[in-house]
Symmetry: C2
Subunit: 256 residues, 2 copies
Amino acid sequence: MRLKMVLAYVGSAYSGWQIQEKPSPPPTIQGALEAALRIVTGQHIRVFGSGRTDAGVHAHGQVAHCNVPDDRAEQDWRRCLNALLPADIRILSAGPVHESFHARKDALSKTYVYQFWTEQGFTPPALLPFVWSCGSLNVEVMREALPHLAGKQDFASLQNAGTDMESTVRHISSLELQALPPLPYYPTHAPMLALYVTANGFLKQMVRNLAGLLAACGRGRLNAADIPAILAACDRRALPSPTAPAAGLALVNVVY
Amino acid sequence: MRLKMVLAYVGSAYSGWQIQEKPSPPPTIQGALEAALRIVTGQHIRVFGSGRTDAGVHAHGQVAHCNVPDDRAEQDWRRCLNALLPADIRILSAGPVHESFHARKDALSKTYVYQFWTEQGFTPPALLPFVWSCGSLNVEVMREALPHLAGKQDFASLQNAGTDMESTVRHISSLELQALPPLPYYPTHAPMLALYVTANGFLKQMVRNLAGLLAACGRGRLNAADIPAILAACDRRALPSPTAPAAGLALVNVVY
């Protein structure tokens, strides 16, 4: 029986999604899931995610699939896995899905949010694991940059080295920047900027490079008019801004 | 020179605000502050807070004062204390104040927020330290209860044992319940209820008992009409609901 799981995690304590086959493997989300499934079923069950998240990246809506024994059709997978998983990984839902379902290959689009904390000099401790404390940003300049980054384009300049992709063309169907009150502790002002990015797929650290580029615009180090040439170069070295930190990033939705 | 500090902390790792004079004292917010001040000044400096927060209770806007050596008038206290404090305690501002200022005695009112997570069966791991996962609540019934709890009243029934107070009359000047989207991961729905309480003072665990009472109303175990008799008893034993967990509570503002 094929099982589809939707999960949330705080990635701070993990070396990313993907299991690392090493003598002393670091903790990973996939590893924690497979360890829980091994306790429930007594078998080694491989889990496939919709995509890898980097070390320190969070998720609220990551999707994964695996094959579980057919005689477990009555199992309440959400409840039993949540009882075994660490508190920073939670199953939102888990249930049977068509045998042909594949969490990565069938994904039509994914949405990430990247959170910038823009208040100079102070970040609320509760938010430290979830934001990039980048100081003040000019939101208007950042908004001017957005149209240059949306649409179907070759995003090779926003791809870090390490994974070979057949094509580096992706379609960003939605790119929005919102000012948000981050917690009820901030009822009256909104020093958090949330960048929502939806695309049919993402290159390695593409959202973090996009966030780094936008922050450079917000700091006056780059202009919206510089972006076409950066993308046209199809080379990460054409992008002068650093990759934004992992903590600000979360995978929030996968559409099938 | 008297120094006034406004601070934020995630209380999860601390045994509350107040230093415990024991052979092996547990970590406290006041203890961490005094340790940092000792490094900066070479002296033991006593810190006075606007009030104690319990173990696991958070703050975004706690106020404290202390006396620092007069020859340190040029010191950037915010910056140097933040460099020495653990990441889960942050100074928002620190500066000189009139010699007669007293963080507790001069407080005119304080505001707390209590956060209820009302989605059955699942709490986002990022929010676990900051909410009470109490399951679904009937907000309308809770709102009916609010007028019975506001105003100047004897709140002895909402006071846990352990501290003797001359008077148990307090004035709740504002009591509001708001549904909030807790994080950008939840752009479309708001399963978090935030109870804001402002009063001229609070009895021991009064907000947590208030939250417990309101949750009992939201679960149909108590009615708004039961509240006058509970308060009139002036006895904690007249309140049938348990004290709500510390994690949901945060001190958000002190007015002088």
